[in-house]
């Protein structure tokens, strides 16, 4: 009985807190008419940012402020829009939180700064840059664009990126890529793991580099690649049928490196690690 009473008290207190919190929440919406190839910059210290296509020529920003310790500074200059969470005196990580839902024309360039995120962007056809400390970054369905993501330890997931100029850099965050192709895909993580699942496209330059993080590539049998993989101190495994290459930049050591080609060797893939383990596997 005592336990039931205790649970009841907790529920009442929690409900009261949530009601108080909901009462403090402030919802704001901003709409901007923009021309082709507009741009938006969103700077949100704490809280999620989600970007989706609007299907119109409008940028629509919906912001939910969790307290009055933060306000939104926003400005439109021509086709450029800037939105920033402005922390007021006494703001903390919890009270300064703002949740952004942003809808943009698909050809709008998007820049996002968020320290803890998460950040999610999908179905864009223009450049996307995301900078975050520990923010989890998830990018899906971006085509014909530059995708640049920098985090300290935030994990990064890229899915269905086509014809992308992709540059990913994280110190300790894991990087996962599924069906990511393009002429230029450069991924660097100091100690995070790097995972690539896809066919490396046609005519691309792919470089996956780590210091201590493991690097895995899962590749279909019909991939057309020239692969160079080398770990200075980690193990290197390959079960993909590669043709050995006659001329190499360095002497391949069994178990530490391999070089070979598959198909017409349309894309160049270079995988490097100092002490991480490298696995190149057939899907």
């Amino acid at each position: 009985m005592v336990t039931r009473q205790r649970v009841g008290q907790i529920i009442v207190v929690a409900a009261t807190c949530m009601a108080a919190l909901a009462a403090d929440q402030i919802r704001k919406e901003f709409k901007y008419n923009v021309g082709p190839k507009a741009s938006i910059s969103i700077n949100n210290e704490y809280g999620p940012v989600t970007v989706r296509p609007s299907g119109t020529n409008q940028i629509i920003v919906t912001a939910v402020l969790l307290s009055n310790k933060v306000e939104i500074d926003q400005e439109q200059i021509g086709d450029r829009v800037e939105v920033q969470s402005h922390l007021l005196a006494g703001a903390s990580k919890d009270t300064a939180r703002v949740e952004y839902q942003v809808q943009v024309p698909t050809d709008t360039s998007v820049t996002i700064h968020s320290s803890d995120g998460p950040v999610y962007a999908e179905q864009l056809r223009a450049d996307l840059a995301v900078v975050g400390d520990s923010a989890k970054v998830d990018v899906n369905g971006v085509a014909d664009a530059h995708v640049h993501v920098n985090t300290l330890d935030g994990p990064i997931t890229l899915t269905n990126i086509t014809n992308g100029h992709v540059e990913i850099s994280s110190v300790r965050g894991d990087v996962n890529m599924n069906s990511v192709t393009g002429p230029h895909v450069i991924v660097m993580s100091t100690s995070g793991k790097i995972h690539y699942d896809g066919d490396f496209g046609v005519g691309g330059d792919y470089q996956l580099t780590s210091h201590t993080g493991d690097i895995d590539a899962l590749v279909p049998a019909d991939a057309s690649v020239e692969v160079t993989a080398r770990s200075l101190r980690g193990d290197v495994e390959n079960d993909f049928p590669l043709e050995p290459k006659k001329h190499t930049a360095f002497l391949a050591h069994s178990g530490r490196s391999f070089i070979g080609t598959a198909g017409r060797a349309a894309s160049s893939v270079v995988i490097r690690s100092i002490s991480g383990k490298i696995r190149f596997k057939k899907r």
């Binding site: 990580k93 320290s115 210091h211 200075l232 490097r272």
Partner: protein, 202 residues
Amino acid sequence: MTCSEFHEILPDMLEHEAAGRHAAHLQSCSSCSSLVADLKAISEGARLLAEADEPSPRIWANIQRTLEAEGIIRAPQQEGGILFPRRRWSIFIWAAPVLAVFVLVAGFFLRAHNAGNISQPVSLVAQPGNIADNDEQQVLAALAPAIRANYEDNLKSVDAFIQDAKDSLAQNPDDDEARHFLMQAYEQKAMVYQLAMDRSAQ
């Protein structure tokens, strides 16, 4: 002549016109001719910039000494030329000015940012290692205490990467891969500095 053979003499293309088989390759290869055109444009732009605000030769000399001490570049031992191609690592010569500019810009940024906080100006001309240590202290000091520990941990990871890459390069001075790792490690550090400066500016 292959593209990779042509890349060996790429630095010479900035100062000399291609001749013989190099010229033939340049005519037949759109990729290399486009690359040479781009590099010449960059070189010309850099020259204009340099003319606009040229630091003293002493600063460049000190930066060069620091980069050499760090193992990022090596002191020239033999002048290369079209007839005597340079060694393979010459392709990394392009990265050296970029890194030098980074060191310079980072120094100026830090000096500007900390102008009101420090009594001594940031010295761009320091002993190898001191530049990084001083910069790191200042970058961390400018951050809010709540996020400082996270940046400190990440900088430790990057510093371990740099040290590991330096050791690998010291063991294998002719290994292009080891040099590449060192460049990548410094790029990571530059990224962390950039993130930290963005945060400290907020």
